[in-house]
């Protein structure tokens, strides 16, 4: 990827973040009522409530509010959260790494397990392959939240949960629940790619000249894994990120999902926009990183796009 193309992609990503967060800001503001409604039921005078509304920019029109948001965005000044009475940027800096940690660990585990599963599946005989496909089908279909409830129920019923610190057990269960469907999906994708590659004439020729099938599968498999899987990783990451919202709530993991929910319930306009900006930034960063890695690994993409 050339420098100018990288800059173009970076600018598109920034525009995407600004646009998505602005839309979220407008949506959160057009809802009936606002954060200061609760103050009207208190003993505060109308003047005091209006002063608070002005301080929180709630007396501004939608275009003005959007301008306030967009003007602060380049400096990462996302204003103040009503609910937490703290800068939105500070809250995001605390919560985003926790979500990245949970999603990143699940993604890494699913990539490793998926590649291993897919490689074994591609080389398996008909019966084993059929059994593996059935397991894959079930693992892909069952939602992460169901797996999480299942894992927790087993841990509770067997007494396992009482032996492990809950601050470790809950996120661990969450990470496993997120990784299982993704691993199965990656395994299916990898097996499909490997089967197609092993059927290519040059792969058959290598095998006929004495290259062991194990070496062929693993050597070839790794190359396919590195190129093909890298290109779908942003999609997998987005899937895991979406599923992580409820997992965070159930396991009590104070990440971006929990923060977004709190922001929506509190009608915390800037925090809703900030969370959307953070999610958009994560997706854009994953997509950009995947593009760069694929272009570094596969010379054909460099020739195609310059």
């Amino acid at each position: 990827m050339t420098g100018s193309r990288l800059i173009r992609r970076g600018l598109s990503a920034l525009l995407f973040i600004a646009l998505m967060s602005s839309v979220a800001l407008v949506l959160a503001r057009v809802a009936p009522g606002d954060y200061t409604d609760v103050l009207r039921t208190s003993r505060l005078s109308d003047e005091a409530v209006e002063r608070e509304r002005a301080r929180l920019y709630l007396d501004r029109s939608l275009p003005e509010l959007s301008l306030v948001w967009l003007s602060g965005l380049p400096r990462l000044d996302m204003r103040e959260s009503y609910r937490y009475a703290r800068p939105v940027t500070t809250l995001l800096a605390e919560r985003t790494p926790r979500t990245v940690g949970l999603v990143g660990a699940a993604l890494l585990l699913s990539l490793l397990a998926g590649v291993l599963w897919g490689t074994i599946r591609a080389r398996a005989g008909t019966r084993v392959a059929g059994a593996m496909d059935a397991i894959t089908g079930v693992a892909v279909a069952v939602p992460s939240i169901v797996l999480l409830f299942g894992l927790l129920a087993v841990a509770v019923r067997t007494g396992l949960l009482s032996h492990i610190d809950q601050s470790i057990a809950m996120p661990l269960a969450g990470m496993l629940a997120l990784a299982v469907p993704a691993s199965a999906g990656i395994g299916a994708l990898h097996a499909q790619a490997l089967e197609e590659a092993l059927a290519e004439p040059w792969a058959q020729a290598s095998a006929s000249r004495g290259l062991s099938t194990t070496r062929l599968a693993w050597k070839l498999g790794m190359r396919i894994a590195l190129t093909r899987l890298t290109s779908v990783t942003p999609l997998v990451a987005a899937n895991i990120l979406g599923a992580s919202l409820l997992v965070e709530v159930v396991t009590g993991w104070a990440g971006l999902g929990r923060l977004t929910f709190d922001a929506v319930v509190a009608r915390d306009v800037f925090l809703v926009a900030g969370c959307t900006a953070a999610v958009s930034a994560l997706i854009a960063a994953a997509s950009l990183a995947s593009d760069v890695i694929v272009r570094l690994l596969d010379p054909r993409t460099r020739e195609e796009h310059g």
Binding site: T136, G137, V138, A141, G185, A188, A238, L241, L246, T260
Partner: protein, 324 residues
Amino acid sequence: MGRVIGSVLAVLLAVVAVAGDRIAPNNADTQFADRAWAPPMSIRIDGVAPYVNPQVLEDRLARIYTNDTSTRIPLRVFASGRAIAAEDTDEGPVLLLGADALGRDVLARVAEASRYSLGVAIAGALLALLIGTLFGALAASIGPRTDRAIITVADALASLPVIYIVLTLRAALPLVLVPSDVFIALSLLFGLVGWPFTARGVRGIMHREWALPYAEAALAAGASRLRVLVVHLLPATFGFLGTQFLLLVPGFLISEVTLSFLGLGFPEPTPSWGTMLQAASNVRVMAEAPWMLAPAVALALTSLALHLLSGRRKDALTVFSRAR
């Protein structure tokens, strides 16, 4: 084989969703005194006659129930307007899947909840297909500028996790809504976030079809572009739309469960799988009343049935292309 199992499961789930709490011996909203957290009753068979033993509350605080094996409550199948009915006795309610904290029949509530949870997911998926087909057809048929504009918006929306978009859109609505408004609101939200997945596929198919000789021949014979689009090109998308429907429904089902779990979907006492799972999310409830996890089983079975029906193995990439 997978499709057969998927079809059987899907038909069974559809029957349950249509029948609602008529599947169970009790109504979904009936609260039985002295039956809070009552465990499931075992169905026993004497010859060909199924029956259950009534439960007796031994200790209210410890929630200890025992079975009175000296008494039987006969069960009837497809009687009194119910799939499973119990004979009228004074021995208390028949709770085949146990009861919740308010003494309500869990089986009746899971069955009734499938109406709401599945109903809103299906309505949302149908709306997403409608909007997506419209935008996909417009993108492929009007011109390059419209095509680029529509696909840019679709790509931007489809890149974000659906649940985050749904949650943000939900922020624009009042927090508390009546069940009928929740149904309409969630269906609309799902339609609005689901269309990009359909539009991209329909656009691709229509671009390919417009270039085929039969479309050119129809235009040369004097047919208008709209007629060619609707009469000749649209049928080519039906197979894709069917698969897309099966991909969208599980995604929206999980979104509904998430919103209801968070208190932003169907409110109590309306049963939905999300509100029911919320009640089961406590570690103590999981330990002492595992039957409260019945909605998780229903959600898993529905997801599995739709996955098997869609025949996902053909293209593993679609695994990650659903609206999750």
